[in-house]
């Protein structure tokens, strides 16, 4: 439990607030812990002291915890896999290399069965997405209070450990995928071909506006569904863990253990789905309809 005096709602929203560094506008009224207020004379880059401040920062803000953890996990992935790659032998692979090869083989099989063109980027993209998203999701299995409490001891008030419960993280990746979809669509079919595909698709030429609307919605829905599916799943999982941690500590395991076991399936599945859909979307960008 986080503290003695805070309410359930406060506890939950505390857990759902990112450590935000951003720009507060001029004339903004800040309220500190003791309830004193003071007015900012000019716009200022600073750490947000509350969820309200964080949301008042608008777009010019960055979630330090999300970035920190996701980059840490990304570097963990890159470092460990690069080490395996450096020591990759043709002979009998040992321990970690074996594991890395299983993962790569798995991704490679899936890519080969979905994507039939020659492109050296797609398979590494799938691998990166799978591993990185999986590691981000895996942070969900760390008991919800451990790292935030540790951070509190070090004087950091907000700490969200699971980067994929931040919609910015998942949407960032989804936008990356979206850019790749557009890039490969135009590269393969030309701007005219791509536009024709959008305009003349399900119905013949006379229904152009309708086609355009349908296809554009379909196109935009790809990254949005990609981002929101992962975000929603992780957010919900996190939410359930937080709710469970509100129970008395001696009863928590009854719910948290089954949920954690089920969650192992979900995090793997969501990472897998994210990478598979990435590959599928890029394969769709390549294929002519």
């Amino acid at each position: 439990m986080a503290g003695e005096t805070i309410t359930t709602g406060e506890y939950i929203s505390h857990h759902l607030t990112n450590l935000t560094y951003g720009k507060l506008p001029a004339d903004y009224v800040r309220v500190d812990a003791e309830g004193h207020t003071h007015v900012l004379e000019q716009a200022q880059w600073t750490m947000a002291h509350s969820a309200q401040e964080a949301s008042d920062m608008g777009f010019m803000a960055i979630h330090v915890d999300t970035m920190g953890w996701s980059i840490f996990l990304g570097i963990l992935f890159c470092w460990s896999f690069a080490r395996a790659a450096k020591g990759a032998t043709v002979g009998v692979p040992g321990g970690f290399q074996n594991f890395v090869e299983i993962v790569i083989d798995f991704i490679d099989d899936n890519v080969k069965s979905i994507f039939h063109h020659k492109n050296p980027w797609v398979a590494p993209l799938g691998l990166t997405v799978f591993c990185w998203v999986f590691l981000q999701n895996l942070m969900d299995l760390v008991p919800v209070d451990w790292i935030p409490e540790l951070a509190k001891l070090m004087g950091i008030h907000y700490m969200r450990v699971v980067p994929s419960t931040d919609v910015n993280a998942t949407a960032g990746m989804a936008i990356g995928v979206f850019i790749l979809i557009l890039y490969y669509s135009i590269k393969q079919k030309g701007i005219g071909g791509f536009a024709a595909e959008l305009a003349f698709q399900p119905l013949p030429k006379w229904a152009l506006p309708f086609n355009l609307f349908l296809e554009l919605v379909g196109l935009i829905a790809k990254p949005i569904s990609l981002a929101l599916r992962l975000f929603g799943n992780m957010y919900a999982g996190e939410m359930v863990f937080i709710i469970i941690s509100l129970l008395p500590f001696y009863i928590q395991w009854v719910l948290s253990v089954p949920w954690a076991i089920f969650h192992i399936l979900i995090i793997t599945l969501q990472a897998f789905i994210f990478s598979i859909l990435t590959i599928v979307y890029i394969a769709m960008a390549y294929d002519k309809h």
Partner: protein, 75 residues
């Protein structure tokens, strides 16, 4: 009054989402078993596809559960 409405809303979100997912996963599972029984040699491939589809079907109600919990406990 407001608390009752919020509770009701959370219950509706979770319950309706669960209905959809239950029907979806049920159909998916029955088809998977049918296919597996008809062509057991395709089971590995079918299982992969089954899990992909289950992840897709499962996502929406799971998000619903998240939102439901949020409005039940945090609001």
């Amino acid at each position: 009054m407001e608390a009752a409405i919020i509770t009701l809303a959370g219950a509706l979100i979770m319950g309706l989402g669960a209905i959809g997912a239950a029907v979806g996963v049920g159909i998916l599972g029955s088809k998977f078993l049918e296919g597996a029984a008809r062509q057991p040699e395709l089971i590995p491939m079918l299982r992969t596809q089954f899990f992909i589809m289950m992840g897709l079907v499962d996502a929406v109600p799971m998000i619903g559960v998240g939102i439901g919990f949020y409005i039940l406990f945090a609001l």
